[in-house]
């Protein structure tokens, strides 16, 4: 004979069932907010010990997996950070480029720097030849902040640029406030840029802007070269030697712009 279980449900059993079902239905038909509140309350009270144990289990179950996941996340964050920094730099560069276009109104062709060389006189940059632009020797090359130099020569892929830090390049320069014109030249031995030919009677202030004069038609007028760093008065000469701090940071230049005709 099978062992018999409990008796058939009586009235009280049905009442208990009806009460439980009614409570369940009441919650089910209540608003979404009330249901979520009730569930959150239960989690925070009745299920708190359960969640504590479960949390401990999850953390302790596979520490290696956890560590690996954290390391991967750290690496991803680091990459994201680098990417963001690069984007910030690129945005700043593009803003500068827009400023250059707006200020100069000249047509420019961008060319990334791919190498640095030097001849007997100083620095030469190798840049990638822009595809669409016509490139010729003597063409002016500028950077984000100012003058870079001129095109020395070119082949099918690269353009060599003689920079203002090359003693073979002379630039007709002008002091912005006094409008006096002199000749700017790089001194490789001293590693300074000197503006010569400014008469002694001309007042020169430190920080005064130096731009291209446009004389000789080598460089267009008005390109920033740098600012006056120091003024040297030579008693044996009738002119001043002015040390110029170049605007362009040539050691860190990544991209230059060829000024198109």
């Amino acid at each position: 004979m099978p062992r018999r279980g409990a008796d058939r449900p009586g009235l009280i059993d049905w009442i208990v069932l009806a009460a439980a079902a009614a409570l369940g239905l009441a919650f089910l038909l209540a608003g979404s907010g009330a249901r979520i509140d009730a569930a959150c309350f239960l989690r925070a009270t009745l299920l708190r010990p359960y969640r504590l144990v479960l949390g401990f289990h999850s953390a302790a179950a596979d520490p290696w997996k956890e560590t690996r996941a954290l390391r991967r996340e750290m690496a991803e964050r680091s990459l994201d950070e680098t990417r963001l920094e690069e984007l910030v730099r690129e945005t700043a560069r593009l803003r500068d480029l827009l400023d250059i276009r707006a200020a100069g109104g000249r047509s420019l062709a961008a060319a990334p720097v791919v190498g640095r060389q030097s001849d007997g006189f100083g620095e030469i940059l190798a840049v990638l030849r822009p595809e669409s632009a016509g490139v010729r020797a003597g063409q002016t090359v500028v950077g984000m902040r100012g003058l870079i130099g001129t095109v020395l020569d070119t082949d099918a892929e690269e353009v060599r640029v003689r920079t203002v830090r090359n003693g073979a390049l002379q630039v007709n320069a002008m002091l912005v406030e006094s409008r006096e014109v002199g000749l700017l030249r790089w001194r490789p031995a001293e590693r300074i840029a000197l503006l010569e030919g400014i008469p002694l009677h001309v007042p020169v202030k430190e920080g005064e802007l130096v731009i291209t004069s446009g004389y000789g038609r080598i460089f267009p007028k008005g390109i920033t070269i740098g600012a006056v760093a120091a003024v040297r008065d030579d008693s044996t000469s009738l002119a001043r030697s002015i040390r110029v701090r170049l605007a362009e940071e040539l050691d860190r230049t990544e991209e230059v712009f060829l000024v198109l005709d």
């Binding site: 409990a6 009745l46 299920l47 144990v53």
Partner: protein, 165 residues
């Protein structure tokens, strides 16, 4: 009182097992419904009233994990506990295979009702949902529950009926 206290402790223990051990033993996303099996076992081993009370309690705990359908498990687990208690008088409740079969059938019934309510009484969707999870869950639950009942009797003999009366 001791009866309910025992099921109270067992319900937490079973929920922990579901969340830890059996979460890793899921087969194709199907886990055994151990807490539901406990509600069924409570009804089956005691009475309809015991099944409803334990089912309601377990439904309450299960609902906390699903705020969107809060109340649904309270309703369904109570019904399932009541059904288990109602049928226990007609069956050999000491036999593990019988217990396993009742658990499997009631898990299927629970899954069917749940699927209908969750899909807002859409027959096709409900049937698809039910077929996707319930048969597997019913078999898995019945198997685990039957094994547990074979192992547990010495620790948990059939005394609840006396405890309730």
């Amino acid at each position: 009182m001791l009866f309910y206290l025992r099921y109270l402790v067992a319900s937490f223990f079973v929920l922990l097992l579901e969340g830890t051990v059996f979460a890793r033993l899921a087969l194709g996303g199907i886990r055994p419904e151990l807490s539901l099996a406990l509600a069924i076992a409570a009804g089956f081993r005691t009475s309809a009233r015991g099944g409803v009370v334990v089912g309601f309690w377990i439904g309450l705990l299960r609902d906390a994990a699903d705020p969107e359908n809060f109340g649904l498990e309270m309703l369904l687990c109570s019904l399932v506990g009541f059904a288990a208690g109602s049928t226990s008088s007609m069956l050999n409740r000491a036999h593990p295979i019988m217990q396993g079969a009742v658990i499997a059938l009631l898990v299927l019934a629970h899954g069917f009702m749940r699927a209908f309510l969750v899909t807002s009484f859409s027959p096709v969707e409900a049937l698809m949902l039910w077929l996707r999870f319930s048969p597997g869950a019913a078999l898995y639950t019945a198997l685990v529950a039957a094994l547990a009942m074979l192992a547990i009797p010495r620790l948990w003999p059939l005394k609840e009926r006396r405890a309730l009366s």
